[in-house]
Subunit: 155 residues, 2 copies
DNA sequence: TTTCGTGCAAACCATTTGCAGCAGC
DNA sequence: GCTGCTGCAAATGGTTTGCACGAAA
């Protein structure tokens, strides 16, 4: 059900090669982990590192960070910032365009699709003569739970 | 042309008092600085601190951070995260709803109004039963300048 | 007077970087 | 073999916090 593409044909690897980057075991594993995530699921550097350690390989946190940065700069990953102190990343390829609602109470995030927002981003970018890389719509608010239990937040 | 409201009547001060916070000289100055910013202009903690020092008072960076956090939590400031490693803040009051385009090349930000996006945020939030605090639409891309001069970014 | 707010410096935490050794090509 | 990649540990940079003092109410 889950056929893993040959190293030679994977478009992600091709993107790396094309720009003169090497295919290392670490990078393969990291890409593999991202591919295994459910669509719309994003990982922080720490989370990625934890998953790397689970697999037994000893990939350092530094490499995780370096790879996330590299893949983002190549446009293979989408960098998400939910204003909670660290970034999250998700595969850009074949992900349906989606946006996020973030609960500032419990940091839960919800994804929702909205192709209209995609278009809007492109259109507005064009209006200002920008080359649009990514349009991110974030709705910050309180989820149903946190909305109710508000009182418990002493601070 | 620029009449500064009396301490007693300022709605910002009232918001503080109402929740049991004290009006200190530091907070007054900080609010004053934000009021003096052009609409749509945002400040980082460091920038705010620099402006505080310019005024001669010796407000510490720690207080700047504490105050920014407090004012944001009270909903008086809008917290903006442009994924450049530090946050920016702007007065929420009387600011026309606006969104941002960020150049990932030179970090320039451009504001644009779009009431449609405001509505969209509210509507989508409502769909998920969220209490919407702020909807932020960010378009990351390359500005006309950086689009052209791309080659100069060796790394 | 009581309690909150502040300055200072140390602590934190996410992320980056210098360096020497190892691996891709 | 050359050069880029990695692990390690130290450095960085933004932000937070403990503490004792000073100031708002």
């Amino acid at each position: 059900m889950e056929d893993i593409p040959e190293t030679g044909t994977d478009p992600l690897f091709d993107s790396l090669r094309k720009r003169g980057h090497r295919i290392t075991a670490q990078r393969e594993t990291i890409l593999q982990i991202f591919k295994e995530q459910e669509s719309g699921h994003h990982l922080s550097a720490e989370e990625l590192h934890a998953k790397l350690l689970e697999r037994g390989g000893n990939v350092s946190l530094a490499t995780a960070y370096r790879t996330l940065k590299l893949l983002s700069s190549l446009g293979l990953l989408r960098e998400l910032d939910f204003a909670e102190g660290h970034k999250h990343y998700e595969l850009k390829q074949d992900t349906l365009p989606h946006q996020h609602i973030i609960c500032t109470g419990c940091n839960t995030t919800l994804e929702f699709e909205d192709h209209f927002l995609e278009e809007a981003g492109q259109k507005i970018g064009a209006r200002y003569n920008f080359e649009v890389i990514d349009a991110q719509f974030k709705i910050f608010g309180l989820c149903p739970n946190c909305k109710t239990g508000k009182s418990s937040k002493g601070r």
